[in-house]
Amino acid sequence: MSIIDLKTVSKVYQMGDVEVRALREVSFAVEARDFVAVMGASGSGKSTLMNIIGCLDRPTSGTYHLDGQEVSRLDRRELAHVRNRTLGFVFQSFNLLSRTSALENVELPLVYAGTASRERHRRASAALGRVGLGQRMGHHPNQMSGGQQQRVAIARALVTEPRLILADEPTGNLDSQTSIEIMALFQELGGAGITVLLVTHEPDIAAYASRVVVMRDGVVMTDTRQTPRRASDDLKSGAALEEKHP
């Protein structure tokens, strides 16, 4: 069964008098454990697609089944519960709470899940261990490098053991070496049974995914399956990515 299943999903925004059709009857499915990269220029509709998949927004028409559950007509409170239980988010700008330790940042989703304090600590430390930050649980975001902050954010996405992680330009603020490390982490998660959906505009980053979807003008232009580059190999060989596009 597909973890993500969109059927003829449209999204129309009203901007003053102008109707903006951000998505035009997009049908799109993702199988569990897949690692999908969504690409496209700005205005292509990829952000809207991600927002709908991430249950942050609702489609104007069409249906969306997430992990078998129809979620396109849920209200804000129910969507919050779905996000909390099923999804993990990773953002370009990390979005960590400042002046708050890594451990507490990772605990945040569990706080809203109503997990008891002791259990939260245990699971958050485990998640930080999994992203290689077991030694830095007490550090605050401003005491960590960008790569470390993004690892904390990934640990926060992982801590609820979600079925799906949505990453919106997760390497956009990182140097190429760190980017490969983060991609290696995502590839590991795929191996552990978590589906990863990644938005990027960098082909070098998309190369680590096993499926690349290109959006344009609110529709899916191309949808290709590929053999992913192995980030762990790149790290071993010390090969850095080409100079990034400005």
């Binding site: 942050l56 409170r77 919050a80 996000r83 239980r85 988010f89 945040l108 706080v111 609820t160």
Partner: protein, 409 residues
């Protein structure tokens, strides 16, 4: 998310901006502090009024002689003696709600000891007078009925008079003072009573038997009582009834028909005390409501800062929503923050109010009374202010769109 967790998050957010949080609640602190201090001082003033009326006498009524009315020029109360000794006896005998009645004949005279002199009021009266006024002797004895029967030349002195004539720590009992050059033996010294609400010194006076007063100090018609009658009613509730009964008795005795003016007047001191207390209470209420307005202003300050805080933390709100906070979680978080601020301000205000009331009270020599109900009400009211003024910002936060909030710069 349990309430304890919400409170922890709120405290953390407030402590992150300690100075700002402090300035925000300053309005509440001052408001509550002012309410507490004002009410404490007002209650103190009330207690003081009560105290001064109590030393004037309990359940006290005063019967004053009437006015002359010579060809239309009315002389005012006391200008003509209209009360008789028989009236006094009749009041004692016939009015059921009167416990004690005593004449007060008063004049000013110069008192002389061996080497000092002092002008003061000299009162001629009977033993009941001291029961009505609730005055006790500090040393020596009271006036006795036998002193009146024999027109004994004995005197009771107030503490101030003793100080002036014999020196501060002297024992005056047994000494001789001369009043109008007639020697009187000091048989007792009254307890110190302090000042009345109007600043009159109760301790500045001398008291002699009424018969002695009439024959030696101030002559006059033997039939008339050239002074006032002090009445002690049987209870506080009985004062109004006693007043009515005395009025109808005296109208009867003086043959005053319906529609004619009384030639006497009865003053009810209990009612005067009540009126004065009412005045104090009104003043307290007024002061407290001015202070309550500043509480309201404090609430607006909280709303202002909460709105700033919501805008500042838009991204944080977006993130919390993305990881699973429901709109209600967000609402509650900001509401609890406002509530915590206001309640902390309320408690700090109580402490400051109690402290400043104590300072003021000791400076002005007033008693200070902290009413627990006012403390509870003002802390409760500031919590309410927090909720009311925190609601709008909290609602604003909870209605943010997570997508916009996450992108907010």
């Amino acid at each position: 998310m349990n309430p304890f967790e919400t409170l922890r998050v709120a405290l953390r957010a407030l402590l992150r901006n300690k100075m700002r949080s402090f300035l925000t609640v300053l309005g509440i602190i001052i408001g509550v502090g002012a309410v507490i201090a004002m009410v404490a001082i007002g209650e103190g003033a009330k207690a003081r009024v009560e105290e001064s009326f109590a030393s004037m006498g309990s359940n006290l009524l005063i019967v004053m002689p009437g006015s002359t009315n010579a060809s239309g020029a009315r002389g005012g109360f006391g200008s003509m003696p209209t009360l008789t000794w028989d009236d006094l006896q009749a009041i004692r005998r016939e009015v059921s709600s009167v416990r004690y009645a005593a004449a007060q004949l008063r004049t000013n005279a110069q008192l002389m000891s061996e080497d000092q002199n002092w002008s003061t009021s000299v009162t001629g009266t009977s033993p009941e007078y001291f029961l009505i006024r609730n005055w006790k002797v500090a040393s020596g004895r009271q006036l006795l009925d036998s002193d009146i029967e024999t027109s004994a030349k004995v005197v009771l002195l107030g503490q101030t008079v003793v100080d002036k004539l014999f020196g501060a720590s002297a024992d005056a009992v047994g000494q001789i003072v001369r009043i109008k050059n007639i020697p009187f033996e000091v048989v007792g010294v009254l307890e110190k009573k302090g000042q009345s609400a109007m600043g009159q010194d109760y301790d500045d006076g001398a008291f002699v038997p009424q018969s002695t007063f009439q024959s030696k100090i101030q002559g006059g018609l033997q039939k008339f009582l050239s002074g006032t009658i002090f009445i002690g009613a049987t209870s506080t509730d009985a004062t109004a009834r006693a007043q009515e009964q005395i009025e109808s008795l005296l109208r009867d005795r003086h043959r005053i028909g319906p529609g004619m003016d009384d030639d006497f007047s009865v003053r009810n001191l209990t009612e005067m005390a009540n009126a004065q207390q009412e005045g104090t209470r009104t003043l307290t209420t007024l002061l407290a409501s001015i202070a309550a307005v500043s509480l309201l202003v404090g609430g607006i300050g909280i709303m202002n800062i909460m709105l700033v805080s919501v805008t500042e933390r838009t991204r944080e709100i977006g993130l919390r929503m993305a990881v699973g906070a429901t709109p209600f979680n967000i609402l509650l978080q900001f509401l609890v923050e406002a509530l915590t601020l206001a309640t902390a301000g309320g408690i700090a205000g109580v402490l400051i109010g109690v402290f400043s009331a104590g300072q003021l009270a000791s400076r002005f020599g007033w008693p200070m009374l902290i009413r627990p109900d006012i403390v509870v009400i003002s802390v409760g009211f500031s919590a309410l202010v927090g909720v009311v003024f925190g609601l709008y910002p909290a609602q604003k936060a909870s209605r943010l769109d997570p997508i916009d909030a996450l992108r907010y710069e």
